[in-house]
Assembly symmetry: C2
């Protein structure tokens, strides 16, 4: 078991529509010599901005409702809903912070596709194919505070699966499927912060193999959901 | 912004009731020269075992119900309940894995107290006072897979609070309170795994200052809870 390093990717400028985000990620990774074994974690905010997923509006709730496929709870200015991606979060991920006044940043239309495109572009530019995780900051039903979770994934299985594995006593394991994609997102937040202007990080050493996988796999199907 | 290192603490033997867990943590940290700035993350399993929170039973559901203060959902062999600590999780944290057949490991009676004791004992043994986070592996309402969260905290604020902070545009931030304690727990899981027999990790470089704080602060009060 070796250590895991969470390396902030610094020096990425303010991102605008049409910007080649992968170029900035590769430039910021250069001194760290990006490898296939690394995982590049990037905040959805800059992905959305590069894709033009910014809308001119000051009415966040109206925009959040239009981005939702199902409303779970609505209380004053807080909306808990399900996005078209199946993500359950506050205000459908619509966010005014780190965006010019009068504008709102939306989630990417297809964050898994965004992750796959970033990965493909990184391969083109750098000749290596790290895993890619796109994050957002979500609250939780029963716990205060927010943590970063994976909303887009490319090049890795979002889960490490222990089903059928046994402990040294021969017992089956209780925790059967660890959502490492969300753990990578949370780990990366430790260097990204909210006011440090760090929008991406490199996770190195997790021994998570490259594989096909998508963040949509993390969405709990509605018929297995006890709380929707 | 500097990198964060997640260092596995290896060589800790099977823990039994009455064992001085802090001694093993300090021994395992020795080559890394533990400092006040570090955070020691440890799986509740070994804390519970050292405290004798192991019960002889094979009926996990019966034990889980006795460990619960409120039942949220019950489906076949799955119980979602609130523990006496206010933690909402499956089977009240009662776990048969990594425990001798015929026994079940419970959560510590007061995991924050356990964390404070471990911290105090580490100070006694090593002369430094790192933060301490005790973890368990929880599922989530709307997302598949489990992640590690903080059930006990000592020496750090479980949240980084951005309330009142603004972004470079002068907007207030949407994510106001990041639960770094849970993010530390999740980050540590990346080196702890389930079958690797690594029950603890050192998180170094997070720039999270020592402060008073407890995992009970993370429990969402029932009157602010939309999903209980």
């Amino acid at each position: 078991v070796t250590e895991v390093r969470i390396i902030p990717l610094v020096g990425i400028p303010e991102i605008r529509e049409g910007d080649d985000l992968a170029t900035y990620l590769v430039d910021a990774s250069r001194e760290h010599k990006l490898t296939d074994e690394d995982i590049v974690v990037v905040a959805h905010k800059v992905v959305s901005k590069s894709e033009g997923r910014v809308t001119k509006s000051v009415d966040r709730q109206e925009v959040a409702i239009s981005e939702s496929s199902r409303i779970l709870r609505k209380m004053n200015d807080l909306l808990i809903s399900e996005t078209r991606h199946g993500l359950v979060c506050a205000n459908a991920g619509v966010d005014a912070s780190n965006s010019p006044p009068g504008t709102l940043v939306l989630l990417p239309v297809d964050p898994d596709l965004s992750a796959r495109r970033l990965r493909s572009r990184i391969r083109h530019l750098a000749g290596v194919e790290p895993g890619v995780v796109i994050t957002d900051t979500f609250g939780r039903a029963w716990r205060l505070g927010q943590t970063n979770v994976a909303v887009g994934v490319a090049g890795l299985d979002p889960f490490v699966d222990y089903r059928g594995a046994t402990d040294p006593y021969g017992n089956e394991l209780r925790a059967t499927q660890i959502c490492v994609a969300d753990e990578l997102a949370s780990a990366a937040e430790l260097v990204m912060g909210k006011t440090r202007r760090v929008c991406a990080a490199l996770v190195r050493g997790g021994a998570l193999p490259r594989a096909s996988g998508a963040a949509t796999q993390i969405v709990r199907p509605i018929d297995e959901d006890l709380f929707r």
